[in-house]
């Protein structure tokens, strides 16, 4: 009943992508703003996604959590509308303005019905150029953030990721908490918010994706209305290059929970690395491939050690990490890590099999287009491609780049990156029979 498909299907998918890509048009607004645009008139909605370079990693020392707090305050009143008036206006128009911050960037997503697109971009302009940062709103958000920080201080997953970054990037901005601490949150003033905003939100520092029921000319007009009021120049970003401190440390944060959570890492590569696809394919086979990866098979399917087990290539602006995780009962942490290590050893020594490479290639070639299944997903992808300087022709080149990867390429990057003895491991819980290499609070 199951027939083996020939690779003709792969060729079909390879062609499906440029057909999609042909819909993406680079546009320049009358005011000079550049964006990538897809005209998709079948649903009367418009999505505009924007990213500004520089996120939590650019926060001043002692003001950790500033970017996240700013994201929470950007829709809390602007111009002559206080928080309540601004929120009511958004609701009357059914406009969503979503601000968010990451370690390396700050983002805004505007989603509106076509009929309210002008009002939507006017509100975005107001939020970006005339935010109020009223004392009432700042104190309210500060109390929410502080409570959230306290909650996270007892969450195994939050402790895990904080400890991983703090101990993995000591002294580097990536090691600082992007949530902030109760203390650093207290120190943040309206002036801090304004100066962060002025330094980062500028025309030379942003990329834009527009998707939906709006043609190119109209899109340009909307962009000028939304972002024309931003300053031309941003402040330089001063975040040094770094590398995960992977010297074979195993750290344990003791907490009385029934399941230990484990995160491990090795230095990876950045998005612009020529080995991006060899490493992506390697990771897919190791632990990135959902229900089909080696770690899933060995840790979950064969041994029932974990519900969640994965690995992931995490490219950042100043480094890259090959990162993985799992959660297992305290009694089986040591065994799980042993299985993990032996899988890393095997892939480092022997690389992957030809049929694994083929499956990883066809998956990676096909999954990209399959994820472009909504205007929202397309807008997010347009922004991410531009943030990574991939160029609009990337959509046409992508499948070629994947197909060009050889078994020897994957073998080479496996040998370079997968060093089981160097693995940096953090565990939060009460793992039995696992030795820490040094103490951590």
């Amino acid at each position: 009943m199951i027939r083996l498909r020939s690779f003709i299907v792969l060729a079909c998918l390879a062609w499906a992508l440029p057909a999609e890509a042909s819909k993406v048009t680079p546009i320049t607004s009358p005011g000079g703003l550049k964006a990538w645009h897809v005209h998709e008139p079948s649903i009367p909605i418009v999505t505009i996604n924007v990213a500004f370079r520089g996120g939590a990693a650019t926060e001043p020392i002692g003001k950790e959590g500033l970017a996240k707090m700013l994201a929470s305050l950007m829709d809390e009143g602007a111009g002559d509308m206080d928080s309540q008036a601004f929120q009511r206006r958004l609701q009357e128009l059914a406009v969503a303005l979503r601000f968010d911050s990451g370690r390396d960037s700050f983002s805004l997503s505007i989603r509106t019905l076509t009929k309210f697109r002008d009002e939507a971009v006017a509100l975005a302009d107001l939020a970006l150029t005339k935010p109020r940062f009223d004392a009432e709103a700042i104190e309210r958000i500060r109390a929410q953030v502080a409570q959230n920080i306290r909650r996270r201080s007892q969450s195994p997953d939050a402790i895990l990721s904080q400890t991983f970054f703090k101990q993995g990037f000591p002294g580097h901005p990536y090691g600082r908490s992007s949530e902030g601490s109760e203390e650093s949150i207290k120190a943040i003033s309206a002036e801090d918010l304004r100066s962060f905003l002025l330094g980062r939100f500028a025309k030379d520092n942003m990329v834009i994706g527009v998707v939906g029921d709006v043609d190119a000319a109209e899109a340009g007009r909307l962009l000028d209305r939304a972002f024309g009021g931003l300053p031309a120049k941003s402040l330089p970003i001063d975040v040094p290059e770094t590398r995960l401190a992977a010297g074979g440390d195993t750290l344990i944060v003791r907490r009385p929970v029934p399941q230990s959570v484990v995160m491990w890492g090795l230095p990876g590569i950045k998005r612009n690395d020529p080995d991006f696809f060899p490493v992506t394919l390697l990771n897919h086979v190791l632990g990135g491939g959902g229900f089909n990866s080696r770690l899933y098979e060995e840790v979950r399917e064969k041994r029932g050690l974990a519900y969640s087990v994965y690995s992931s290539l995490v490219p950042m602006d100043r480094t890259g990490i090959l990162l993985g995780g799992l959660g297992t009962q305290n009694e089986r942490v040591a065994e799980s890590i042993e299985v993990l290590r032996s899988q890393l050893r095997d892939i480092a020594e022997h690389g992957i099999r030809p049929e694994e490479l083929t499956a990883a290639k066809t998956y990676t070639a096909g999954s990209f287009a399959l994820r472009l299944d909504s205007n929202g997903a397309i807008a997010a992808t347009l922004v991410s491609l531009q943030m990574n300087d991939l160029g609009i022709d990337y959509l046409d080149r992508r499948v070629e780049l994947i197909n060009a990867v050889t078994l020897a390429d994957v073998q080479r990057v496996a040998r370079q990156l997968i060093r089981p003895e160097a693995m940096f491991i953090v565990t939060v819980g009460d793992p039995q029979g696992l030795q820490a290499t040094r103490a951590v609070e």
Partner: protein
């Protein structure tokens, strides 16, 4: 409600639903039913060469036998273990081979499986999904190993988090008899006892075309879809289904109160849930007005609760309301407050009760209701952007006693809700005797 088997005599019927004028063309689904009882819904979307297949079974955790909690979810996991025709792992490998996505989920009222793939892969997906509707094979070893996996899933979802532990206790107290009191993932001691026979018994009882809804959304036409459905799902025989009878909820006559302290809780949190009607249970006419009430009372920063407790009285960092109408059984209308650190819980309750009393006496403001209406109607347009989301809307509705017309007419029904109806719904739902109040507190002194 009782879903009766329609065995063999239902002639295939194609209905294209035309919705009424103002909101014509919300999803415009097409539907037909096979002779074996399989209901099929197609939502066409030709923006991209992508298609989602979802098979929904009218069987969820609330349909489990006593003592077998978690079996619906356990079987969902075991459905990935292969069939007499397709070895373990082959289905998932086929989905992934060309970049597809798949998963499955179990709720109190349904279990569903889905794949999102390139259009040309749809036929394979149908072949494989139809195959595992009847040909599942599982070994004792697979069951033993997968039981460990669901126990780890329970640890990560519930046991590692005091808030989730408490939510599970509160849920059990909310219902005196209705099986929503039992967690979907199961009680740990019962999960440990689940066997291969339990799983196969669940499978043979509930997995049949006449107990399923096939939802396909994406780049395919009815003319292309219909022969594929007939070829792969058509030959599967219908089964005699047990009536979908569940222990019903008796009158609730006493307000209940739960408190839990835990060393890993840092801040007090408060919630009060009122057992409430839904689209499938109780005084159903209140369900839609309650959805709008939840929005006005606690759906945003401009809501009554947020304004009163967070902005005006400054006793809370957050206050909101939640209500889900789409259950087959009794729902809950839940109020949630995160008090400001050190705030007296009595003052919090008084402030919430003031808001509730006011809404019972005076109803809600017309402008507030209009904003809620705008948001709910717009969400149906934004909802069309996600192909998978659209498929979920229909799958959930059709497995919980609602119809395609109910979904298509939603914007018009929202348009028709009046201030009086919202007030009447508030009056009906806010009955102390049907409430469960839960307070989760830090246990001072021994925090690690």
């Amino acid at each position: 409600m009782i879903v009766r088997a329609s065995l063999g005599f239902v002639t295939a019927l194609i209905v294209t639903l035309a919705s009424a004028a103002a909101w014509a063309g919300l999803y415009n689904p097409k539907t037909f039913t096979l002779a074996n009882g399989l209901q099929v819904v197609l939502i066409e979307d030709h923006r991209a060469p992508i298609v989602t297949q979802m098979v929904w079974y009218r069987a969820g955790s609330a349909d489990e036998k006593p003592g077998k909690s978690g079996i619906a979810h356990f079987l969902e996991h075991l459905m990935f273990k292969g069939t007499s025709k397709v070895p373990a792992g082959e289905f998932s490998a086929t989905v992934a081979r060309f970049g597809g996505r798949e998963n499955a989920f179990t709720s109190t009222d349904y279990t569903a499986y889905f794949q999102t793939v390139a259009t040309e892969q749809l036929e394979r997906m149908m072949e494989l999904e139809a195959d595992r509707m009847v040909n599942l094979t599982i070994t004792a070893e697979q069951v033993d190993s997968e039981r460990l996996v669901i126990l780890e899933e329970r640890r990560s979802r519930i046991d590692n988090s005091p808030a989730s532990q408490f939510a599970e206790q509160v849920q059990a107290a909310q219902y005196l008899a209705y099986p929503y009191r039992i967690p979907v993932i199961g009680w740990e001691h019962e999960m440990r006892g689940l066997t291969r026979e339990d799983a196969l018994d669940w499978y043979r009882t509930h997995y049949a075309p006449n107990n399923a809804v096939l939802v396909v959304a994406g780049n395919v036409t009815l003319e292309q879809l219909r022969p594929l459905v007939e070829r792969y799902y058509g030959p599967i025989p219908a089964r005699a289904l047990p009536p979908r009878l569940r222990p019903d909820e008796p009158p609730q006559r006493s307000a209940r109160r739960l408190e839990m302290t835990h060393p890993r809780v840092t801040d007090v949190s408060w919630r009060r849930g009122y057992t409430a009607p839904s689209y499938g249970w109780g005084e159903k006419q209140h369900a839609l007005p309650l959805q709008m009430l939840a929005e006005v009372l606690g759906g945003s920063q401009t809501s009554h609760l947020y304004r009163a407790l967070v902005i005006e009285k400054k006793v809370a960092t957050y206050a909101g309301a939640f209500y889900s109408a789409g259950n087959l059984g009794p729902s809950q209308f839940v109020l949630i407050v995160n008090p400001v650190a050190g705030q007296d819980i009595v003052a919090i309750e008084r402030a919430v009760e003031d808001v509730v009393r006011d809404v019972i006496a005076n109803g809600v403001d017309a402008a507030d209701l209009e904003r809620a209406r705008t948001g709910m109607q717009a969400s149906t347009i934004f909802g069309r952007d996600s192909v998978q989301g659209a498929a979920r809307v229909f799958g959930a509705a059709l497995t919980t006693g609602r119809t395609i017309e109910d979904i298509e007419s939603f914007p018009e029904r929202v348009e028709a809700v009046t201030l009086d109806q919202v007030k009447a719904a508030a009056k009906a739902v806010f009955d102390e005797a049907r409430s469960v109040t839960g307070v989760l507190r830090p246990r001072s002194g021994d925090r690690s």
